[in-house]
Structure formats: C-alpha cells, structure tokens
Symmetry: C2
C-alpha cells in the first residue's frame, strides 16, 4: 500500500482535479484489453506537463511506489494493467498533433493521440502513416510505440518501430531526453530511441513522439478471395510472396471466424469455406493493376473458388469489414475471448494453422483463427468463459502448446501485442535465459528501484546482482531464485 501522505503529495503535484482514487475510478483502470488479468491501482494520476511527470518519478524513487503508464488501455498483453503498490499514469488526454512537417515528412504528436486521428490528419495532406493496429480507432500512438504495434499493412510497410524518428522521454531518474530527430540517418551513440520502442512502459514515459510519414499511395485495390481449403489459402500466400509481389495487406480468416463475422456483420460471406484472404495492393495505378491481375491468377491457380474485387472505395470498406470485424465478431460468441499472437516464418503458415487446429481439438476448445498471413502473424483466439475454471485451464495448456510449436518452427510468442504480464512466463523459451538476463540488467541499470511498470515483460531481477550474471553458475542461481518468470 502506498502511504496516504505520498498519495497526498501526488495529488498536490497534479492538482486535486487530476487525482482520482474513488473505488469506481480504481476499478475503471484496473484492467486493459487483456482477459483474466486485473489489479486495482492505488490512484489514477493525470499529469499535464513533463515536469509534473518528472516530479512523480522522483517521488517514486524516494518512497518506492510503481508507475504504470496508460493510454487507452486497449493492449492485449496486460502492459497497462496496474501492479501492486502502483499508480496509473493516465496519458490519454495528451492528444495534440503538434506539427505536421510536409517538407521533411514528419509528424510531432503527443502520446495520447488516437492512431486513426494521425491517419486522417496526415492523409488530408497527401501523406501516410502506415501502422494500423486492429484497435486503431481507440488506441493511442504512445501505446503503439510502447508495444511496437503492428497492423494490417505490415507486409509492405512494416510496423510502428519503422515510423518512430524521435522520442521525448522522462527517464526513470527524472531526467528528460529527446532521442532521435528529423534527420533520416543518425548513428550518434547507442540507438536508445529504437530501444524504447516496444519496451512496454518499463524504461521511460513518452511525452512527445516524432513520426515518420511517407507519401500517400496514389491508389489501391482490395480483394477478397474464398478458398475451400485452408491449406490452399496458405499456399496462395506463399505463391504471392514468391512471385515478388508485395501487397500492403494479406489477411487470413478461418472458417469459425468467417461464420462469426457473417453472423455479426451480414456481409454475404460463404460460411461453408475453410478460409478467405483479404488482399490489398496499393501504390501507383499501373503497378496496382498489374499486381492485382497477377494475384487473381495466383489465387485461381491455388483453387480459389471466388475472388471479389472492390470496384470503388465503398466496396473496399465493405470487403475490409470482413477482416476488421473479426475480433469483435468472435468476442460476441462467449463471455471471454483470449486472443493470441504467434508469429512464424511465412513458410510455416500452413503447418502452424494445422497445429492450432489439432491442439484446439485435443483440448476440446472453440478456436477462431485470423491474422496477418503475409507476416506469418496469426491470432488464434479461444472463445471461452472465465467462470469455467476447467476450460480456462485447458485453454492455458493449449496456448502453451501453441507457443511451443511456434518456437519450434522458428517463430515467436508475440508478433505485435507485446509480452506484458500475459506472456512473460513464455519468454525464456523463445529468448533464452542469457538474453533475459541481459534485458534485466539493462532494466535495473536504468531503473534501479524498479518504479516503471515493474514485473512486465520479465520479473524484476533479485537485488543481489548489479550487472549481467557472468557465468552459467550465477545464471543457475538466478533460475533457482525464480527470477525469470
């Protein structure tokens, strides 16, 4: 428990009106988009300047409480769920777009800006900010940077880390730095800026974000391809990549997901097919026409039974709804939706889909799987009920097997959602103990009192050790101490 006098100090730093500690407020901020995980914070603090944040950080070091930064709380790995002895630092009202530089192709934004608001602001000027996570209408840029969010356009355009050119950060010691800038190349010193991206709120609090923009693609073409067999859909994806076509988007839905989407959105999708692909090509008109035509040929060659091509923007939105609605549609089926995020090398897409299916069958669970097929990034989604402890237990076992399969295939446990609380126990299997020891050493060198989002990504290192363990024996000792999970 944080001492009441400390809470009073916090209230004085931000002003009474920006200090929330009613039970309702605490409950509101006790969870994020991740199922099964919640914890009450001791208070919710709404800062209005970086100097206030620096004061809060300094106080946390002095009296030892934890700070959990939060944007919209739409994360799916528990990154913004409070921990014991913590306050929530609410950044969602830092929502100003400070500058769009049309000559250097950059946007300077506050961390609380909604991702879709960046899209619309820059697109009006003929520019483009590619990252488009599923939650883009509610999530914040700050959260996107903290988790290195992906989205539907990753295949061609990459993910959030490819678009962060600079960060203003309040460090755990209360210092404020700006790392990066408008120069497109910069190798002065260690690359701190990129290291903050994806650090899940554990290394600093972002107060300004400089985004890279690109010219808006001149045109695009959206297609929906139906496949009787899931394997053939996966093979079509491989064939498109092998033909050196780089669509902006290749998204996949399995039969369960198609059925749920159709029930939810009534788009006229055939519910008897095993899978569909949403494909979008964009760029210059001549190239888009050429690529679309080649993709139609390749899909047909892999026994696509029908391919719908949007004739205009309204139709394109309708086709994209089939994919955009997937999560919401699945979430309606049962009270609890556990959406996961395994990513495999593209060539392993078909085998991974097979394995997910057989694991779901083995544990007698209802799974819908969709995701970014072009990136090998799948969202196997378990539709369950958290009150059914036996089923939840089976789901946990199933996901553990799915993660292990992914790792065996050279894949990873999370492609775009982050490790957070939800997946930290699987991190050793994918990263290895020596790499986690390195992460922990870096964390404790920067944040020795573990005030920033402690326990996320990995557990805090035991105080007995100041730097990277030097040998197998020391690492073993750490393992025995349970320092890794």
């Amino acid at each position: 428990m944080i001492n009441p006098s400390v809470l009073q100090k916090l209230s004085r730093i931000v002003g009474k009106e920006n200090y929330l500690d009613s039970q309702e407020d605490k409950i509101t901020y006790s969870y994020d988009g991740t199922p099964l995980i919640s914890q009450l914070p001791e208070a919710v603090i709404i800062p209005h300047s970086k100097e206030e944040i620096a004061q809060i950080v300094t106080l946390a070091n002095e009296v030892a409480f934890a700070i959990v930064p939060r944007g919209s709380g739409s994360g799916l790995s528990g990154g913004s769920v409070p921990v014991e002895n913590s306050i929530v630092l609410l950044m969602s009202h830092w929502n100003k777009i400070l500058e769009i530089d049309t000559e250097n192709l950059t946007a300077l934004v506050e961390p609380g800006v909604i991702t879709a608001d960046v899209h619309s602001a820059v697109e009006k000027l003929g520019l483009f900010y590619p990252p488009d996570p599923g939650s883009m209408n509610i999530c914040t840029i700050g959260g996107n940077v903290a988790e290195n969010a992906g989205g539907l356009r990753g295949l061609k355009y990459g993910v959030t880390k490819h678009y962060v050119m600079g960060l203003e950060v309040v460090l755990p010691n209360g210092e404020i730095i700006f790392s990066g800038g408008k120069s497109v190349k910069d190798v002065a010193g260690y690359n701190l800026k990129d290291f903050f991206v994806g650090s899940e709120g554990t290394l600093g609090i972002f107060t300004k974000i400089l985004l890279k923009l690109i010219p808006k693609p001149e045109t695009s073409k959206t297609m929906l391809a139906y496949f009787q067999s899931r394997k053939e859909a996966a093979e079509a994806v491989s064939a498109i990549v092998a033909a050196h076509i780089v669509p902006a988007t290749i998204e996949f839905l399995d039969q369960t997901t198609i059925k749920c989407v159709e029930e939810y959105a009534h788009l006229g999708l055939p519910t008897s097919i095993e899978s569909l692909l949403l494909i979008e090509v964009d760029g210059r008109p001549s190239v888009v026409e050429e690529d679309a035509a080649k993709i139609v040929v390749l899909c047909k060659r892999h026994n696509c039974i029908e391919i719908k091509i949007a004739q205009n923007a309204v139709e394109a939105i309708r086709l994209k709804t089939a994919r955009r609605a997937a999560f919401s549609a699945l979430a309606r089926v049962k009270p609890t939706t556990i959406l996961e995020d395994v990513t495999v090398p593209r060539t392993e897409l078909a085998p991974m889909l097979e394995r997910i299916d057989s694991i779901a069958g083995k544990y007698n669970l209802l799974f819908g799987t969709f995701g970014h097929a072009g990136d090998g990034n799948l969202h196997p989604t378990c539709l369950t009920d958290e009150r059914d402890t036996n089923e939840i237990h089976r789901a946990e076992s199933a996901f553990e097997e799915i993660f292990n399969e992914s790792i065996k295939m050279g894949g990873t446990i999370t492609g775009e959602h982050g490790t957070g609380l939800a997946k930290k126990k699987f991190l050793p299997a994918v990263a290895g103990i020596p790499a986690i020891a390195m992460m922990q050493s870096i964390k404790s060198s920067i944040d020795p009192n573990a005030i920033l989002n402690p326990g996320k990504v990995f557990s805090i290192k035991p105080k007995c050790e100041g730097s990277l363990p030097r040998n197998r024996e020391q690492i073993k000792k750490f393992e025995e101490l349970g320092a890794w999970t």
Copy 2:
C-alpha cells in the same frame, strides 16, 4: 601491457597459427580507415568458432584486457582502432554465406562476408540486399551492422538496421545468444537485436547475421544532372521529395569534388559547374519511366543546365562512377583526407552547404563536399596533411563548428559512420548528458569489466557508480570526473 602468460593462453585457445604478434602484424592492425588515429594492439587473434570467442571473452574478464573486434577495418570513426591493453579479434575470414532462403527472403551470413558479395549472391536469385556503403567492395557485413552503415540507396531503402532480422552474439559474459529470427514481426521482450546494430563492437561480438532480403527491382534508370548553382541543386532535391517521388538514390557532388573526380576518372564532367546530382529511380518499368520523366521536369525547373540519362547498364555504371569515385578522387589530392558525416533534416541541405563553405573559408582549408543529398547526409571532406599540425588544428576547429551548425539545424554529427573514437567528444552536444549516462549505464550493466572495445562511443563510466545517475548532482559529479569525453 597484457601479461605474456595471458598472451600465451590466447595463443593456446586459437592455435599458434592464428595468433599474430610480430611488429609488422601489430602495425598492420593498428589503424583503420580513420585518419589521425592509431594504436598498436598487443596481439591479433584469429578465432575459428564462437566457442573460442567465448573462451577469449571469459579470459578477458578474468585478467582484464580489452577486445577490439575487426572486419576489414574500413571504418571512418575509429571503431576498430585498438585501444590500450587490447587484442584485435579478427573476423574477416568468417566469410561464408550460410543460407539464402528464397521463400522467407532471408540470408544467413557470417560477419566477415564482404557486402558486395552478398549483393551478387542474392541478385543472382532475383533478390536484393539494399545497403551499399561506399566501401561495399571491401567492407564486411559485421562492420556494417556494428556501425549501422548506410549507403547510396538509403533514401528509398533505409540503412543496415532495416535489414538485420537476427544476430548470433557472444556477449561480454561469454554467453551466446541468438536474437531475432525469420519471423518478420517479433516483440517478445526488449528489442536487443536492434540495439546491437550500431553499438560499434562495444556490446557483443557477432558470429552470425540473418539479413532481410527484398525482391530485386525490375529495372532502374540512372541520371546525372548538372547545376550551375549549388543552391538550385539542393532545391531540386527538395522539389523531388515534395513531389512524393522516392528515388533509390539522390547523391550530391560539389565543385571541388567534381573537379577531383574528373581529374581522376576522366568522365567528361563539366568542371565549371557548382554541383551535380546523381539520381537513380528503380522499381517497376512503368513507374520508373514516369518518375524519371517527372524528375527531368523538376530538375529543369530548378535550372539544371544538362541532364544525362543512362541508356543502358554500362552507361549507368559510368554515370555512377562520378559519385562512387568521389572519396578516392579527393583522397589523391593531399596526403590526409578527413571525411566527415553530418546529417541534417532534408530541408536544411542548402543552408548546411553554405555553412560548410563559409567555415572552410574562415579556416583557410580545402574542402570537397559530397554525399547522400536525399538523406540530408553530407560528407564534408577536408584535404590536408597530417604533418602540418597547424592546418590539422584548424581542420579540427572547422569540423567542430560544422558539427555545431548541424546540431543547431536539428541534425546530427554522424549519419552512417558511427561515433567511435573520432566523434565521441561531440556526442554530449547532440545526445545530451542524461542520454549518455543512460548509454554508459547500459554498457556497464552488460560489460562490467569493460572488455569490449572500451572507450569507443563514450568513455567508460567511473567504477564508482553502478547504475544510471539519479539526479543532476550525480551527473555533475560525473562531468567533473571527465566521464563523458
């Protein structure tokens, strides 16, 4: 001095034939491509397995000597110059391309592979590895990763960091990790892999590198545009970017460089003009034609006096020679060539060129300036003689002013060469003391005995402090200790 018994142990680890300590050998490896900096190593060690490297690292921790990893030694910031009490760890014979995966578009290589060898190997298969530093015919991929090397194709394709998907690294504690993999998206844990890129041999020794490949552009068009005025050339660059055209390459040469290149390579360049631009567009044939036509119009609009367009591959190579020969051509003029690497936001290109000229004039120095105009990355190059201590002193003052001007314009002191030894004293001005404190903390948490390339990028942190200084006072104390320069 390293104790002879330690050197004997090193010789036993790698075998006598892989242990060099003659005076000739030591001199050979006492410098790299950076002028004015050299230091004899105590020995040169040629390891043949990662296990040998781990043994060497372990020994270094036990008895305190420094390890300086080295590829071809073509670096321009002193990154591979030995330090006191050091051995050179020579990786240039680790030159195997281990796998090219044409389905997942990756290449697994050893760190000593020459960059141009990667180009030719993957291009045979219709694939493309974009980073092409000026030294690509001699430099190694390991060095490219250590320095986050750029090149001529950065404008469209980015730099080395955008193409590193995985790294096998021997850590300073002797552990061996593989960070990253063939999954195109991966956010499991901190992004160690990208943090190693550009860490200049101070955080680990690379033993395998997994590179991202892309489809080879179908065609390209190379142009050489002559401008009477330098300002108009810079404005043409801005106009091209503002028109949302993204050429692979926009390179700039000033008059001094043009004259030197013409004298050296006899390409028929007009030596009366103030500047020329080498522009290359690549991609799909229809787009390349369109873009090339637009660029011609834009260059003419900015008073380009002539524009040569290569009609075939041989002509393209001839036009590119104008730029590729720049460094060698300048280096012939005087005994010592100090090539720098300032980078500014693209909009500041013309003002930066002005400032470089006036600073060169002020200090009565001969400068040739060329570089990656599309990236705002300029190489102001001082042609001098290191025996003329007065002139060298003036050159140092001139570069200091150039760096300060760059920083004032929102630029940086190095775009692609690294900080190394040559620029570490300017790092505080661009990164700030709190950020350097963070870098030092990370370094000492991972490499507490400072065995890996110590003194590069920044000075080693005084032993008195184990983690990030917590406040202004502690930072001040560090400053007084001279910990930053």
